[in-house]
């Protein structure tokens, strides 16, 4: 009996060897057959020549988180082939480059040797191109082994290569040659199979960074200052593409945006604050090392109350660390980012869909609160390929918050003060240059409510207190958590961001395999809302799932929550640089439950 629509394929290659096309074609062809999929690329921190693993998970129930176990290995990389094969569970399948002779390693696996070089030589006369085309052959082999419709592969290839007839032809031939070789040499296997389903209609395949970039465009970002860094770069780079295509003024052909590749992250955030101060919707995108460098400016923005959006596509620490490994490791640092008493709101997208929608919302939130907003994505969410429902067009116009217009200037008159709380929500009205509103001088904390220079202790403390109250106001503006309560569940789970899909899958495992019902609260923002308190109160024990060592979100929760609630909390942590998987969460919870 074969496993249908529920297995994981891993392609082990070397980076720079051009396997990306083959992998995406494989992914997409399964998707086109209506079977939910996700693709994860585990790549090294160099450009070419080091081991890379692309993992495709197909799952009829729609689980799209990482799964630990590999069911089918495509072993193209001599360097890792042995270890890759040795780490498989018994009974699994290996497609491999024939000269590697991997079949000698174990006898509890199914081996399919493929003479890639021989086949590619036949279909690709130009020797220089063979390296690129070779990978397409394993797609053909897999089409045959997994019963994937070859036509779907060809369609996917077309989508991937676009209008490049020569490339289409070469790759198409390689695909067919692989299929043919498998048909002729391997008895039809029953182990793993893709069968048509109807579970991907209305769905898209997209990376979180591209989704966020679309969000930025529709969110009305006007100034983008960035500095390249893995795994963030593809966000601004996608955004540049979208802006150049969709944000040029129809009449004049001129840009409704400015994008600057800054000289570093300090300059990037400086430009964002300068632009935000002068009235743009400004943003930057970076990763941990950039967040570190932005700390000083972040503090200034908090006190001077300047809007701006920072996308933090998180990777593990530190700098000179592993830029291609994922983590949710900057939570505490971002929330507290700067010396002195400082707090920043965080948005926590839990899907590519939310990368899109929260990108849009982040600009409104930032302008309404007049403070920096951090959108905390991560490498897994940002750079991997996720299935998602199509995105929803925003139904509200852009909200620029409390910006003085002529009417408001008349209304407030002399009572206006840049840092005066006239509405009781601790959010003052701001005045933009080049308008009819009064001008003012912007500084850090050395000012009174009227923005006049002051070193008075009372002015300083009053301002600090108002800023604290503003952070309370923020609770009413940030997206509430998504709560799923189960009748009678004693256990609650709190998770956020890219841990969400694995957490949902883990809840199924706990219920189905261990008879444990759990409720779930998915955080979507910091500061926390009262929903969190309610949720914890309703449950006996609450597990906080995160991808870092130091239980960072739990740390933030402890700082805010009533001590009686804290006694209920404990952590399930995953921090080896790989995306979290459901089994790790399930095992973590079972262990703490004493099971």
């Amino acid at each position: 009996m074969s496993v249908v629509n529920d297995f994981t394929i891993q392609v082990a290659t070397v980076n720079g060897s051009g396997s990306q096309t083959a992998n995406l074609v494989l992914l997409r062809s399964i998707f086109q057959m209506g079977v939910p999929v996700s693709g994860k690329n585990l790549f090294p921190s160099n450009i070419a020549g080091l081991p890379t693993w692309f993992t495709i998970r197909a799952n009829h129930r729609g689980y799209i988180a990482r799964k630990k176990e590999i069911d089918l290995l495509v072993a193209m990389n001599p360097e890792t082939a042995k270890e890759d094969v040795l780490s498989l569970e018994p009974g699994r399948t290996v497609v491999y480059d024939e000269p590697l002779k991997l079949n000698a390693l174990r006898d509890d696996l199914k081996f399919y040797p493929v003479p890639f070089d021989k086949i590619v030589a036949e279909v690709c006369p130009d020797a220089k191109l063979r390296r690129l085309v070779k990978n397409m052959i394993y797609d053909g082999v897999l089409a045959r082994l997994l019963s994937i419709d070859l036509a779907e592969m060809e369609k996917a290839l077309g989508k991937q290569l676009g209008k490049k007839p020569k490339a289409m032809e070469l790759n198409g031939n390689a695909l067919k040659a692989g299929f043919k070789y498998a048909s002729e040499n391997f008895e039809a296997t029953d182990a793993y199979k893709i069968e048509r389903l109807n579970k991907t209609a209305g769905q898209i395949l997209v990376e979180g960074n591209a989704a966020a970039a679309m969000g930025c465009m529709f969110g009305g970002a006007t100034v983008v200052a960035w500095y390249p860094i893995t795994p963030s770069s593809s966000l601004p780079e996608s955004l540049i593409g979208y802006l150049r295509k969709y944000r040029m003024d129809k009449q004049t052909g001129k840009a409704t945006f400015a994008v600057v590749q800054a000289e570093d992250e300090i300059a990037a955030i400086g430009m964002v604050l300068g632009a935000g101060w002068a009235g743009a919707r400004a943003m930057t995108s970076t990763s941990g090392p950039g967040i570190s460098l932005m700390s000083e400016f972040a503090g200034l923005s908090y006190y001077a109350e300047i809007p701006g959006v920072i996308f933090n596509v998180q990777r593990v620490g530190p700098s000179t660390g592993l830029p291609t490994r994922t983590a949710q490791g900057d939570i505490l640092f971002a929330a507290l980012n700067s010396h002195g008493d400082t707090r920043h709101p965080l948005l926590l997208p839990g899907s590519v869909e939310e990368c899109f929608s929260m990108a849009i919302d982040s600009f409104d939130l930032s302008e309404r609160l007049q403070t920096l907003v951090y959108v905390m994505s991560d490498l897994d969410l940002g750079m991997n390929t996720w299935m998602s429902p199509t995105f929803t067009y925003p139904d509200k116009p852009i909200d620029r918050g409390k910006v003085l217009d002529e009417a408001k200037v008349r209304e407030l008159g002399a009572s206006w003060g840049r840092y005066k709380d006239v509405d009781g929500d601790a959010v003052p009205w701001r005045s933009l240059p080049d308008t009819k509103a009064p001008s003012f001088f912007t500084r850090g904390s050395g000012h009174n409510a009227m923005a006049v220079y002051s070193e008075r202790p009372d002015d300083y403390q009053n301002n600090l207190d108002r800023l604290a109250r503003k952070f309370v106001t923020a609770k009413s503006m940030v997206p509430a958590p998504v709560v799923n309560l189960r009748n009678g569940a004693k256990i609650g789970i709190v998770a956020y961001g890219s841990s969400s899909f694995a957490t949902e899958e883990s809840r199924d495992q706990l219920r189905e395999q261990h008879g444990i019902e759990t409720s779930y609260l998915r955080l979507r923002a910091y500061p926390f809302t009262a929903d969190l308190d309610d949720f914890i109160r309703r449950h006996e024990r609450v597990y906080v799932v995160e991808q870092n060592r130091d239980a960072q979100m739990l740390g933030l929760m402890k700082m805010d929550l009533d001590a009686s609630l804290i006694t209920k909390l404990s952590s399930v942590l995953h921090y080896n640089g790989l995306p979290i998987d459901a089994r790790s969460i399930t095992d973590g919870i079972l262990a703490k439950e004493g099971k």
Binding site: I204, I266, A267, G274, G276, Y393, P433, D434
Partner: protein, 347 residues
């Protein structure tokens, strides 16, 4: 009232504004600080050029010098940002609203030490800004430590000797691509005012290094940035007289060997040469002059280099005419059809 005794007409500029309209808050700098004199000249220049202060952005880093923007043009929005990072803040602000005129004030520590990288990249971008370095060879606000423009061999009050050669911000600015590079002395009213007025008319980066003695910490023997020393060693490159487009061409200045530079806005700047062969459009000559004078322990002053037609950064970005800051939802949010198209491509 009609029966009030007639008073002599208040002197006003082309906008009908008096000098007082260009002032700022009361200075909190030391009496006699060179920075205050520069503030006065800035006020004069904006007044005389008849600039609408509401169209000006004032930006700075941190330092005594960086406090100055609070002391001029009260009508303009100002931003006292963080140490050394005025260039990036100014860049962002000008992207948000490219219709504004930016004036950035920095110090030699702010620009030459912590801000050196941003200084370089602003120059390279030729951002439209008047970038004034109030250059006193020390860190005034933190009590007189050497800055990177302190003279080699000069001795601080605590006896420590500066072993490092000074940065020449003008030579660097020229090398880096600034399109207007000048130096003056805070005590030289006439020259500084002329240079500032010329800078106001130029579109692109105007780096003006103004020697500005710190009377409190750097006015001691051994420092070349003290008043006395500078007065003795101030080599005036040429007198600068500026003819703004809204005034008669008929300005008082001596004829002679002059270079007529056509400014960005169509106005002209005349340089009276001291060196017979000096040409402010020749980079190499400018660098040469700076090296030569520096070697002699002197400061050249004047406008060293102008490239009036060099494209500035905001122009190169090809932005719509409406400042980005004021675009509406309709202008910045593509229609739903675009989202649909994008979604289709991902199915």
């Amino acid at each position: 009232m009609s029966d009030a005794p007639s008073t002599p007409a208040k002197k006003v500029n082309r906008l009908g504004l008096d000098l007082a309209s260009y002032r700022g808050s009361k200075t909190t700098l030391c009496a006699g600080c060179g920075h205050n004199a520069i503030t006065e000249r800035i006020i004069d220049a904006f007044y005389e050029m008849g600039i609408d202060a509401k169209k000006v952005l004032k930006l700075s880093g941190i330092g005594c010098s960086s406090k100055s923007p609070a002391y001029f043009l009260n009508q303009a929005h100002g931003f006292n940002s963080v140490h050394g990072r005025m260039p990036s803040v100014a860049t962002g602000a000008m992207l948000a609203n490219a219709s504004m005129m930016a004036i950035g004030v920095s110090g030699d520590g702010d620009t030459g030490a912590i801000g050196a990288g941003q200084f370089m990249h602003l120059m390279r971008r030729n951002l439209p800004i008047i970038y004034i370095v109030e250059d006193n060879g020390c860190y005034g606000l933190t009590k007189g430590q050497f800055s990177p423009t302190a003279d080699q061999g000069s001795k601080a009050k605590n006896g420590v000797v500066n072993e490092l050669p000074p940065l020449d911000l003008c030579a660097l600015a020229i090398e880096l691509g600034a399109s207007f590079v000048a130096r003056s002395f805070s005590g030289d009213k006439k020259q500084l005012l002329s240079i500032l007025k010329a800078a106001i008319a130029h579109k692109g980066t105007c780096l003006i290094d103004v020697i500005s003695p710190c009377v409190t910490f750097n006015d001691h023997e051994g420092s070349t940035k003290s008043y006395a020393y500078v007065k003795d060693h101030d080599e005036v490159l040429g007198e600068v007289t500026f003819v703004p487009y809204f005034e008669d061409i008929n300005v008082e200045y001596e004829a002679g060997s002059t270079t007529n530079v056509k400014m960005h806005d169509g106005s002209h700047l005349y340089l009276r040469k001291i060196a017979e062969d000096y040409n402010p459009s020749d980079k190499m000559a400018a660098i040469h002059l700076l090296h030569d004078t520096a070697r002699r322990g002197e400061f050249a002053t004047g406008v060293f280099y102008i490239e009036p037609d060099k494209e500035d950064f905001t122009t190169s970005l090809n932005m719509v005419d409406t400042p980005l800051a004021f675009l509406t939802t309709e202008q910045v949010r593509p229609p739903k059809a675009v989202l649909d198209q994008l979604m289709d491509g991902l199915k």
